[in-house]
């Protein structure tokens, strides 16, 4: 009776010849390209999150400081500050157009700023990471 280990050994020898190679010579390069692209996407996503968090934190801090100083920017008037009329008139106008009249506009502008920032970051990353 043939030993099971011998049958196994023969099976192993036989199956060794079933090993296959990838014939595409560019396989490594194309795979690495995909991975680097993925890596960039992940970083951009992380940057979006980071920028958003920084944006929220900085804005909250500004609102807090103003609130602690007894100023509420939503009720900001020229008389309350007592600064030159022309400058504050323009600030007031800008404030009205982006905050009071449409808060969404303000948010969109902020996101627009973030997107520009991210595009700059992404183009920097593209320059930094080139596949082998």
């Amino acid at each position: 009776m043939m030993k099971n280990s011998n049958i196994d050994k023969l099976a192993k020898d036989i199956l060794k010849s079933s090993y296959l190679e990838i014939t595409d010579p560019d396989f490594n390069v194309t795979t690495m390209k995909k991975i680097l692209r993925e890596s960039r996407k992940q970083r951009v996503l992380e940057n979006i999150l980071l920028c958003f968090l920084v944006f929220v934190a900085v804005d909250s801090l500004i609102f807090l400081v103003l609130w602690l100083s007894g100023l509420n920017i939503f009720e900001l008037t020229i008389r309350l500050i007592g600064m030159p009329h022309e400058i504050l008139f323009h600030i007031e106008k800008l404030k009205n157009s982006i905050i009071e009249n449409s808060f969404i506009k303000y948010v969109m502008l902020s996101f627009g700023g973030i997107m520009v920032l991210l595009m700059i970051i992404e183009s920097k990353l593209k320059l930094l990471e080139k596949p082998k």
Binding site: L10, A11, L15, S39
Partner: protein
């Protein structure tokens, strides 16, 4: 070595991932090919598997070897691709093989040159079911342990042993039949 490169990649040195591609692409391709039975599909699966592995690299807990974890991704991707493609083949009976069968395969197989050996093994594997091909590839070609095969395929340990035994017997029977008919055609 895998751990070192894993650390480097996780630290942001993405280009070091090429180490894993170079090391595991061959075996991953053999596994994928045995399941989908098509070169192009297998290459695509391996590429996607590397991408999936990279995406979830931070979730790899090191409870097992990187290769085991990665081959599981390859097997799952291949199985989902193969599921809708073709029916399983396996008409060979499951009785135990005799020493005569093994000895006859051994002598006929060793008399073949390398390219014919490859051809006959390939033909025999093609006749087996996907599961049988996969188990034989993992155990005999990749030399994975039963525990690792359990982890890669999700088949219970006891079933792996039994299925492996049956798969090996079937392979011998198919090889014996094919080799016999080849010899007869030569005479």
């Amino acid at each position: 070595m895998d751990d070192l490169y894993l650390k480097l990649v996780l630290e942001g040195n993405t280009s070091k991932f090429s180490y894993f591609i170079e090391k595991y692409k061959g075996m991953a391709f053999s596994i994928a090919f045995r399941i989908v039975n098509n070169r192009e599909d297998a290459e695509e699966i391996v590429q996607d598997a590397f991408l999936k592995a990279f995406r979830s690299l931070d979730k790899f807990r090191k409870d097992s070897k990187f290769s085991t974890w990665f081959y599981r991704i390859v097997v799952n991707s291949s199985l989902s691709r193969a599921r809708n493609k073709r029916p399983e083949l396996s008409s060979i009976d499951e009785e135990d093989i005799t020493d005569v069968v093994v000895e006859s395969v051994e002598s006929a197989y060793s008399s073949l040159d390398l390219s014919d050996q490859k051809k006959f093994v390939h033909l025999a594997l093609e006749e087996l079911s996907i599961e049988n091909r996969l188990l034989l590839t993992l155990y005999y070609l990749n030399e994975n342990s039963i525990d690792e095969i359990t982890e890669i395929t999700g088949i219970a340990q006891e079933n792996v042993k039994m299925k492996l035994h049956r798969a090996r017997n079937k392979m011998y029977k198919i090889l014996n039949r094919n080799l016999k008919s080849e010899i007869q055609s030569l005479l």
